[in-house]
């Protein structure tokens, strides 16, 4: 059982890291960026490609992967969000356009093959690959009865540290104040002289960098990189996490991530793998009924 709790914490950390980026965009723009799962996959795929097909060291590939994911955030803003904002389209339009972009990114990676247009990004088509042995050091520690793998353990401090940094930036810096002002009331923020478009672009850059990093850590820890990892593993779960934690709340996303990890593990151990998803979403439903604003949510009150 102890080992199972350790497993749940690892899984929860990935959910948390992914959901932090998800919730950040929602908190500031009131838009669900459904291309976030594609960014998650893109980060993992590009980093893998840089290591395996372009002979880069893992660390350089990691940095480039995160930068490219951040740049993809800009693409989301310029292609999917800004044109619609200009036309004052309803949030549902932005939701649909991000779904569209996600499909395009996944399809582009899926088509990646040797000699193809996207060969620089991906050559393994629809297949699932893993970093070859030895490209990433992965010492294993045995503490008492527990087994701890470095690639998984490292996710925990990374997600907690990032959450703290992000919390600090949001609360105490000029940029953070600007972002919060935009979240509160974009029009007022603009009247106060804030460049709202720039703030939104920045939000997407930060969010996508986090999403890409989550994807890389996922690929490293679980040895599964394919065009579908975002869609299959984190897209819907990420939504569950931010609802559990409270839409738009960063600490909520982190706690929600760990909570979902634990719930899934308990369901799996006691009821078997088939029940895993069902139980997790039953918990989500319960949360929506009992506490619709989630653990840390405040938005409902704000709106009243």
């Amino acid at each position: 059982m102890d080992q199972q709790i350790v497993n749940a914490i690892f899984t929860g950390s990935i959910y948390a890291l992914f959901a932090v980026g998800y919730t950040l965009v929602f908190g500031i723009l009131d838009i669900l960026n459904l291309a976030h799962s594609a960014v998650f996959m893109f980060g993992a795929a590009l980093t893998y490609s840089l290591v395996v097909n372009h002979g880069q060291s893992f660390w350089i590939a990691c940095v480039l992967g995160i930068i490219a994911s951040a740049a993809l955030g800009l693409v989301i803003e310029y292609v999917c969000l800004r044109p619609l904002r200009r036309r004052q389209a309803p949030p549902i339009a932005a939701l649909i356009s991000t779904i569209g972009l996600a499909l395009v990114i996944v399809a582009a990676v899926e088509q990646g093959k040797q000699g193809g247009l996207f060969a620089w990004l991906w050559v393994d088509g629809a297949n699932s690959v893993a970093f070859p042995r030895g490209t990433i050091p992965n010492p294993i520690w045995h503490v008492g009865d527990l087994t701890l793998e470095a690639t998984k353990v490292v996710i925990i401090p990374i997600s907690i540290a990032l959450m703290l940094v992000l919390g600090y930036v949001m609360r105490y810096t000029q940029v953070g104040r600007g972002l919060r002002a935009v979240a509160e009331n974009p029009r007022a923020a603009r009247l106060m002289g804030l460049d709202v478009d720039r703030m939104i672009a920045l939000t997407l850059v930060i969010s996508s960098a986090l999403g890409g990093l989550a994807g890389i850590l996922f690929g490293v820890a679980l040895g599964d990189i394919s065009p579908y990892i975002g869609r299959d593993y984190v897209e819907v779960r990420g939504l569950a996490v931010i609802v559990l934690g409270g839409m738009g709340s960063i600490p909520g996303a982190v706690l929600g991530g760990y909570l979902l990890g634990l719930i899934e593990m308990l369901a799996l151990v006691t009821l078997g793998s088939g029940a895993r998803g069902g139980v997790a979403f039953a918990a989500l439903f319960l949360m929506l009924v009992l506490r619709p604003q989630g653990l840390f949510g405040t938005r409902l009150r704000e709106r009243i």
Partner: protein, 404 residues
Amino acid sequence: MNRMRVIGWLVATVLVAACGSTGGGGGGTSNSYSGKTIKFGSVLSLTGAGSVYGPQSLNGAKLAVKEINASGGVNGAQIDLASEDDTSDKGISAQKTQALIQSNQVLALLGPTLSNSAVAAHPLAESLKTPMLAVSTTGIHIVPDCKNPDPTPCKYVFRDSLGEETAIPDNIKSYANDSHPKTGVLLVAQDDKFSSDGGTIVQNTVGQYNIQLLKVIKFNKGEADFSPYVTQAVKVNGVAPDVIFITSLGQIPAKLMTGARNLGWQGQFLGGNGFNTAAVSTQAGAAGTGARSASAWYLGNDFPSNKDFVTAYKNEYNKDPDQFAAQGYTGMKILADAAKRANLTFTDVAGDRDKLRAAMETVNLQTPLGPFQFTANHDVKQTVWIIAMDGAGGFKLVHEIRAS
């Protein structure tokens, strides 16, 4: 030209006379073949989920065609192979099969790659009375009951790939004889026919060898993190099992092995066809060392029919063949050998298909898979190779189980 022909006949007559009562002698009507073309087709998964297997099968088949045509063809007739990609889709597989049979008028077909597609393509070939030889399908109800649940044996469907119903029990038996394990745990992907069939076969087999199955752990192949399952498997009520059986596909066996070794478990992994590719062995690395499975083919076999195949394949494609390449190559050799003995008319396609089918039933060849024949059920009758991962991306041979 005429003189050559007369001399040819004379030589043939002398040879037949020399063979006399021993009854040797190849196809007698060879000159009706010369200058003709024998049309075969293949319906394989070159894209989609089956694309890790299909292209190798096709490479193998093409190599066989090239070799046969270069060495004078089938009694002088050249083979023409029309290959189609079924994109790993059952419906498309059936369509392509029908098109090759009806429009291209092929004599016989190889394929399809996946058991899932065979369910659609094979009954079609059967109803159109065209021989179809499966080269990589290992599921149950492929032969002879291709129209399952209808139990009528299919006359035109054959298979040269080793079914899990043979492979898994052979593997368990051989390990039980070697090491007498007492306890086991089964890890089985429940949402994939190939894997869950494999799990059922394990459950039905272990009892015969007094292996107590402590736990059956089912998972879905689409999971990201297998550690909760592995954690359950390596210790059941405080007891570490002697064996972990894995019936699953793709990268999953490698992930399960790595996970179990990381948790410090030291027992034996036993599996099925899902273990038999270099990709799995490479991915598992040291964690996979010693993991055993039964295979239809072994790269390191040095009998001539395999050694020549491996060399020719490497020359042609610059890489080692795998089991699927060997089975594709063997499939084409089987068709060619049957065509050679079938007294084809080249005018009556339906009649020729029937003759070919009859000749296939009596195939007896040396192939890369070893000595090859079909059973009365049109299934493969061949030596089974028990192999173990070598920890470095390859396999080593542990046992050889000859066909009874």
